[in-house]
């Protein structure tokens, strides 16, 4: 089975999961489907040779965020309220936006094309220099932690700030029997 067949198979499952999420009303089922969605996405990333991203997607999307959604769900109701408003404007908006995005992809270089602009910019430079300059065989790590160290410091600070914001909103509430 070629990589393309696997891609198409996984994308079909992703689309089916998304449709199921949109149609369901039970929030517990939706949370579980969102977790499956992340797992399928992680599979796609592995197939696209983006193992780092697959890792993150499986651990964060499939694991931690699902648990956090369940935690939030336990504080609220299990069923989504039916909206009384008409849904066709939303459908129209989605269709137009989707069509616009598909139209945008027409200009993109073909999948797997070696002439794609992204391969002609700084990537060859990094590939040529990274091993000699940093001694790290994994170029992704060398770029993230050394060449683009500023960006990664910023990302780490963002995660830190997000956690601080959540803690300010929720706090560590004492629970009966708990020590803190």
């Amino acid at each position: 089975m070629s990589a393309l067949t696997i891609d198409i198979f996984l994308f079909t499952l992703l689309a089916l999961t998304a449709i199921a999420i949109a149609r369901l009303r039970n929030l517990f089922a939706i949370t579980m489907l969102a977790s499956i969605f992340s797992l399928l996405a992680a599979g796609l990333f592995v197939n696209l040779d983006a193992v780092d991203v697959a890792f993150t997607e499986a651990a964060v999307g499939g694991g931690i965020s699902t648990v956090l959604m369940l935690g939030a769900l336990a504080l609220t109701t299990r069923e989504e309220k039916r909206s009384s408003r008409a849904t066709w404007p939303a459908l129209l908006l989605c269709a137009v936006t989707g069509a616009g995005l598909v139209y945008g992809t027409l200009d993109m270089p073909a999948f797997d094309s070696p002439d794609a602009p992204i391969h002609g910019h700084v990537a060859p430079d990094y590939i040529a220099r990274a091993k000699a300059e940093t001694g790290v065989p994994n170029i992704v790590t060398a770029v993230l932690a050394s060449y683009r160290g500023y960006d990664t410091l910023g990302e780490t600070t963002v995660i830190f700030s997000a956690a601080v914001a959540v803690l300010l909103l929720l706090g560590f509430k004492r629970r009966e029997g708990g020590e803190e």
Binding site: V67, A72, V136, A145, T152, A163, V166, L170
Partner: protein
Amino acid sequence: MSHHLVLRVVANLLLPFILVFALYVQWHGDYGPGGGFQAGVVFAAGLILYALVYGVDALKKVIPARTSIVLMSAGVLIYAGTGLASLFLGHDFLDYSGLTADPVHAQERGILIVELGVGIAVAGAMIAIFTAFAGRTPEIEDRDW
């Protein structure tokens, strides 16, 4: 969830492997896929699995809420501190060349340290967020779902 025998046995079986795998991803990030962020989330996911099976209070005995805050701050400080250290050694901010005598080896060393910072910060932040959420949620019975 203490009465779920199968869940508990499977979690016991998986936990050490998840945590060791997180450490592997952390220290092997120079050679294979992964790095600090991935290691941090995998480690946190392992501890959250522990909390799901044994309860949040059991997790708090391993990592108290305060410790997770200290960890996530320490991670960011390790990263920024490495930048400051390279500044004081006469190089640009986050240019690790001065950390050891050999500039190439210094890059490797610097990358290892900042990745450790990222890993600690991410694991601490994820555990802090989970503990905050779980502390709000009353324990619920299986049939309530």
